[in-house]
């Protein structure tokens, strides 16, 4: 008994390691052997959010059309900036031809973009901007920024509340990951958007880290202290959907208007059903598509503009159905 367990276990260990590599080998489908297509890497913040899955879908469609070998990678958690940096470092080692990056830290990813520069790999920034001052200080160059104007999206949401409520109204803001460029711009835009409407008061503004369960918990807590709240702005849909659940649980569905950001499929359904007020649509699929298309242009030596805007619009009950494309 005792003498037989160990060889068995070592066998299991070997099988596990070799098996995993075999799986891995199948997965990549023979990257370097016969494939002469250009290799485009898309590194997003995380793949457990519909927003980035949509972006992945758009990028994959474009990759098929343009005959590009697309590699999509992400950290397990959006807050793990260092892990995203490691992924980029590792991809640099595989000599990808071009890198599209949705940075999970606007300043923190600047050093690794510098590394890509030194390795001669062009970098396209998607969705969230790199911090301009830091990039300039480090002498880091990027080919373009493909994304929506998050500030403008926030402003549109604010203006929507202004049109919606004409009497004195209490509002709540659910912020994203603190210190993050995208979330900051959205919230800043929102605050500027409601400035012309003195009847609107933000009574609480709390971070919920872009996560659905945090959105739920924070909202649930705020409902206890802020009983007269009529509107919620969440700087992404995950938090908005979490907040919506909390409102549903409190039996106040319809009494509190929730406006989110990103217009993911689930949010569109809630809007169409009349449970959620609106969401700012960023069109991540278009971002992914534009990222790959412009990556190919950069590879071919074509000039691309510094900023490629992706249209922004407010999805409301009138425009929610059908979803885009």
């Amino acid at each position: 008994m005792k003498t037989t367990t160990t060889p068995w276990l070592i066998g299991a260990a070997l099988a596990a390691i070799l098996g995993s590599l075999l799986t891995a080998g199948c997965n990549r489908g023979g990257q370097e052997t016969s494939d002469s297509r250009p290799r485009v890497a898309l590194v997003v913040k995380t793949l457990n959010s519909p927003f980035f899955l949509d972006m992945q879908r758009g990028a994959e469609q474009a990759a098929r059309q343009r005959n590009v070998n697309l590699i999509v990678q992400a950290a397990e958690r959006e807050v793990d900036v260092e892990r995203q940096m490691q992924i980029v470092e590792n991809l640099i080692q595989t000599h990808v031809d071009v890198l599209c990056l949705a940075p999970s830290g606007s300043k923190e990813l600047v050093p690794v973009v510098g590394k890509a520069n030194r390795a001669g790999i062009p970098v396209l920034i998607v969705d969230s901007k790199l911090d301009e001052a830091t990039a300039k200080h480090d002498g880091v160059a990027t080919a373009t920024f493909i994304g929506s104007d998050n500030y403008e999206g926030g402003r549109i949401a604010g203006a929507h509340f202004g049109a919606l409520f004409t009497n004195a109204t209490d509002l709540i803001v659910l912020e994203g990951i603190p210190g993050h460029e995208t979330a900051d711009s959205r919230v800043r835009g929102f605050r500027d958007g409601i400035k012309p409407f003195p009847q609107l008061h933000v009574v609480a503004s709390q971070p919920a880290d872009n996560e659905r369960d945090k959105g739920f918990n924070v909202m649930q807590n705020l409902l206890q202290s802020q009983r007269d709240v009529k509107g919620v702005f969440a700087s992404n849909d995950m938090m908005a959907l979490g907040a919506l659940e909390a409102i549903r649980a409190a039996g106040k569905l319809g009494q509190i208007k929730v406006v989110g950001f990103d217009a993911v499929d689930e949010a569109r359904q809630e809007i169409a059903a009349g449970n959620m007020e609106a969401s700012v649509a960023q069109n991540p699929e278009a971002m992914g598509r534009l990222a790959v298309e412009n990556a190919v242009k950069v590879l071919n030596g074509e000039k691309v503009p510094d900023y490629i805007p992706v249209a922004i619009q407010l999805v409301t009950k009138d425009t929610a159905t059908p979803p885009q494309e």
Binding site: K2, T3, T5, T6, W8, L9, I10, A12, A13, L14, A16, I17, L18, S20, L21, T23, A24, G25, N27, R28, Q31, E32, L47, I71, Q73, A74, A75, E76, R77, V79, D80, V81, E82, M85, Q86, I87, E89, N90, L91, I92, Q93, T94, H95, G105, K107, E108, V110, P111, D131, A133, T134, H137, D138, I177, P178, G179, P207, D209
Partner: protein
């Protein structure tokens, strides 16, 4: 030392090393990008942060304890140091202040456990939340970014072609290996973990040394914070989340027992390298991030199963 002795005393580490070499061999066959000097240096640089956090964790686990607060202490020490750095304070002084914050948090853990008689799990669970909250309060939730080139050189420069984070990691390992094997602090750590009562009855001040062990763990977290801050050119209050689990994994893969009394830093370094190489290799192979998590979890479980199998055979 001859071969027989080597196998007798370091059989467990040799087993992990064999696993690491096997993995490297498999990756060399599977992808042409793995076995290059620049990729191997990249791996060494990437593992440095987890490996340094795992040093303190190993010493704590040797004493039959656990420290869940390393990631939060890392964040707290990082933002304090970064804030000081931006006040034009000399770099060594700022680093010293950051390390002092880590040491202080660690010693507080130690005192809660020894004088407060709290179980290590509870005391460090509390500290995990306190230090994280402290970091968020200290910065109002914002990252502290942008440092002098002199400070950033700690992550970006090289020493004899070796990335500076790797050099710092090796220095920390050498120093702590020396501490564990050549000083009585080390002897007491193993003795406390093996049998605290017998150690007390041998005339050893168990409380004092246990407190110091947790202090060391806080200190190594703060050292990791220095590298992380220099590497990202930014100190984030939300940095280091779940780092405690990676550190525990490296320690356990390296042969330490959560029951205490066992473990070596050589083993932990190999364990950290194994995890780093695996992550690197899975990226090179373009494995999806979801499957990566499954594979890493499997490796941890298999490593411990093999370890238990080896121990059962010894008896």
């Amino acid at each position: 030392m001859n071969w027989k002795n080597l196998i007798l005393h370091h059989g467990r580490q040799l087993g992990t090393l064999a696993g690491l070499l096997l993995l490297c061999l498999a990756l060399t066959i599977a992808t042409p990008y793995f076995l290059t000097v620049s990729n191997l240096l990249t791996v060494l640089e990437q593992v440095s942060i987890n490996a340094i956090v795992a040093v303190g964790m190993t010493v704590v686990i040797i004493t039959a304890g656990i420290d869940l607060s390393v990631g939060s202490i890392l964040a707290f020490a990082g933002v304090v140091m970064a804030t000081v750095l931006q006040r034009e304070v000399p770099v060594p002084l700022a680093i010293g202040i950051g390390l002092a914050v880590g040491l202080g948090c660690g010693l507080t853990n130690g005192l809660l456990i020894t004088l407060g008689r709290l179980p290590p799990f509870i005391a460090t669970l509390g500290m995990m939340s306190i230090a994280r909250g402290g970091a968020l309060l200290f910065t109002n939730g914002r990252p502290v970014s942008g440092f002098s080139d002199g400070f950033r050189a700690l992550a970006t420069s090289q020493f004899l072609f070796i990335p500076m984070p790797t050099v710092i990691m090796l220095v920390v390992y050498l120093a702590c290996h020396f501490l564990l094997t050549r000083t009585r602090f080390g002897l007491y750590a193993y003795a406390m973990g093996g049998n605290e009562q017998a150690t007390h009855l041998s005339g050893i001040n168990v409380r004092r040394h246990k407190t110091l062990v947790y202090g060391l763990c806080g200190l190594t977290s703060a050292i990791a914070a220095v590298i992380l801050t220099a590497r990202l050119n930014s100190a984030q209050p939300i940095a280091g989340m779940m780092y405690e689990l990676d550190a525990i994994a490296a320690t356990v893969i390296g042969g330490a027992s959560l029951m205490g009394g066992q473990g070596t830093l050589i083993g932990t370094l190999i364990g950290a390298l194994l995890m780093g190489v695996l992550r690197n290799g899975l990226n090179l192979l373009e494995v999806s991030s979801f499957l990566q998590q499954v594979i890493i979890g499997t490796v941890i479980i298999v490593a411990v199963l093999v370890d238990m199998g080896l121990k059962a055979q010894k008896k």
